[in-house]
Symmetry: D2
Subunit: 271 residues, 4 copies
């Protein structure tokens, strides 16, 4: 039996394998967060967090409990781009790391207005904040959201005497933008929805259902079309300097999805 | 240090809490299985198994490794109703239990023929075999399958000048039937598909796409309609004595599903 | 082209198939909710809702948009047992149904105190509220929670010269209780945690890690043991009249789980 | 009504937006595959496929049904590195693309022998084949596997008077290697398992359980240790020219995971 001993700090011991670890930390940590909304009070969200640092070759391990302490402290702060940076600066200090990375994934609610009845209801979007900070001050923030929309197939409409297959599609976008600007989730979602055959809504009365059915039929789009239209929007948006688009259309006539993907950078990257 | 000792069988020790356990065993065990097909050679599938027994109040634990041994032995056998029973009789003997239960979940491939071009392709369905056997000889077998189909909304068609929203829906059915009969997965799937606006297919050429688009438009169905039509089919099928139907329609105009559920028994049940 | 027509209410049309539908409604609706906490201010949670009614045989369909309207109205109310009933009475009235059912699933945060350092951190638990209400006034409320704990294997400890395999296990419980009482999620979770080898915590400093490691080793439990101890607690709790327990232990020496299940009712049930 | 018309090929129409699409195709297609085993007959697996091509800026859409036709044709072929290339050459031809990419994900069974009793049982591993082929002949093949193992915490062992927390961890690796060699899944899995505190097994009798419990206790490893040991193995393997390692340890004392990640290339990459 080992008795009366001091609690030795194994993580702090030296390591001789000579391998610097690129990312080590914690994953799937559940935390409540307070997120800034556009023109409205903050929203409390339930987030899943991943937080990591680089680990120099000469240390055996990182201190996992410190990540949880830092996440606990940051729960009450309002988060958007700028505060993620503050959180990472904290991590760099407390864990003596060269580089730190955090990703929060959460459901964020936005009020949607039905197109004809004007009835309002809340819709939850899967969103994410990702930040990478280096000790030298370099910082990159990535805003992500999965936007469910309707796609109506142009081919099916063209060749059929009546009707056209349509379905829910998920447009997942990640963008990085200039720190001088703020891009709100509310605005990013609207850009994406406008590129689809139609947005989707939680609450639609009969007159609204007629409207969205006809709108989608008048506005047929392949995943290729949605992708190209979002690409053009992001290319022309002056604040966006990097983006990634992934569209998955849950085909109503198949048991598989149609899929398209694009990643573009307006700046030279070191990755 | 505990040395040279015999490996004591802790599970076999007596328990004094007086609680008979209804189900105890293993879950999420991956096993390859050989499944009987209708009019074709057996198909090797990759199954996830759950296997359990009742445990009398006076035993501390069951012997988990025996479940794995039995599953290993049964991998090569052809499975359908009757052999599940054989597997469970084995479990009852080797674990000295009053009652045993097994559930296998697996992807099963069926050849689909496109409606016009007649092109063939394989489609994978999520299927399950569940069996419950009691020492007194009582046996119940439940066959399950999730059938993806198309539903086209009757309301949207009626009120819109053109088009109608449609989407993929998943019809999950579980049935129990007379041991004198065999109900093939192939036949069960066909019954369900015929109750939808249209079946779905992996491979559709342009002439097929026109066909299924128009067929769905001519044949609008709410989840309520699909459910009622499947209920009527199952009620009139003389071999089926119990069934459960769950329909989830992945609405193309919402980010939520329309849902319907029914469970019926033609016999008196003790559950 | 269909022009100038009224928007006909297809759902209200009569149906001649003679099938009363047991449950029809909406599923996977995302809604923010305000949940009552024990001795603390309400907590805003992000819930996934399923809401359904029975549909008489003579109606073609239910009115899906009304479910969303009702859910929208109930977002701001404080929810625990009693208010779920209010929500369902609303549903019964607005949808003219005999019976209504609702289920909310959400992440709920509770403050945990590390056993030695007394450091505090929030832990998120998957919880659920389910209610069933009949027009005749019958009401049943089911409170559910998934409690992650540690299980340490008694057999492994007994036969090994040192060490013992241990792992995270998920104890999922559902209970129904007397309306005269309130059972708080905080208390239900504590009952379950006390039946395991050790609770789990988000934040553990070195002295806490020593404590929970030794506590689990001193307190070995099979899934059978955890199940029996929870069963005994629920049997002796005077307010609980029905319960269901499901334990899944993510075995550290296998790629499958050990599993146990029990369901008991203290009252005669019609189901 | 549109009658007697030809079925116009909408996809083949020209597009004026000037956006070349990087990847467009199909996702979540279920296909049975025949996979080459090391020193054994082929194994039939149930795969999920994603197949895509680049689409030039001047075409409106790709022909989704051709992907399914190609996948149908390749079901019966034995697959490992070399045949993935053949499949992609086919895609490039039939879809007139500059670049094609395919990813198959499937459960693959390997026979494991318990360390003391020598009892054999099958264990299923999540594996993947990914290939990228360019019209100019460039080809990259990536082999992936998720290996479940045991990790036992060095800190917990050091500071505790007895016991040590341990848990299942998932080591996900992707590697790219020289075409002159074949790296078998069987060998890749063995390399990874040897870097953990202990491998996991489906079937362990009492004497085996004693062995793996003590082995893990004698061999404590942080995720950092497992990562570094796998990195060193991959660095010294002469055929491997690129690799990615992701380790997630399902901590038994927390409800979150410890996590580590590394990606290294031995060659200059254009990505």
């Amino acid at each position: 039996m080992k008795m009366n001993k001091k609690l030795r700090d194994i993580q702090n011991m030296s390591d001789v394998r000579g391998v610097e670890i690129q990312k080590v930390g914690v994953k799937d940590v559940e935390v409540p967060l307070s997120v800034q909304r556009k023109n409205a009070a903050n929203q409390t969200v339930s987030a899943k967090a991943r937080l990591s640092v680089t680990l120099p070759h000469n240390f055996k391990g990182t201190h996992m409990s410190r990540f949880i302490e830092i996440l606990s402290e940051w729960e009450d702060r309002n988060l958007l781009g700028i505060d993620i940076r503050g959180c990472l600066i904290d991590v760099i200090k407390k864990l003596e790391a060269k580089k730190a990375e955090v990703k929060f994934e959460f459901k964020y609610f936005i009020e949607k207005t039905a197109p004809v009845s004007k009835k309002q209801s809340l819709m939850g979007y899967d969103c994410s904040f990702k930040g990478v900070y280096k000790k030298n001050g370099d910082y990159k923030f990535i805003l992500g959201v999965k936007v469910p929309v309707t796609t109506l197939c142009p081919c099916s409409k063209e060749i059929s005497d009546y009707g056209a297959h349509n379905q829910r599609a998920i447009v997942s976008v990640n963008i990085s933008y200039d720190e001088q600007h703020i891009i709100w989730l509310e605005d990013l979602i609207e850009i994406v929805e406008n590129c689809a055959s139609s947005p989707v809504y939680p609450l639609l009365k009969r007159e609204d259902e007629k409207f969205v059915t006809e709108k989608a039929y008048e506005n047929p789009k392949f995943v290729e079309d949605v992708l190209r239209d979002v690409v053009l929007e992001f290319r022309k948006h002056s604040a966006i300097n990097w983006f990634e688009i992934d569209i998955e259309s849950i085909e109503s006539i198949h048991n598989h999805s149609a899929w398209a993907y694009q990643k573009e950078s307006k700046v030279c990257e070191e990755n």
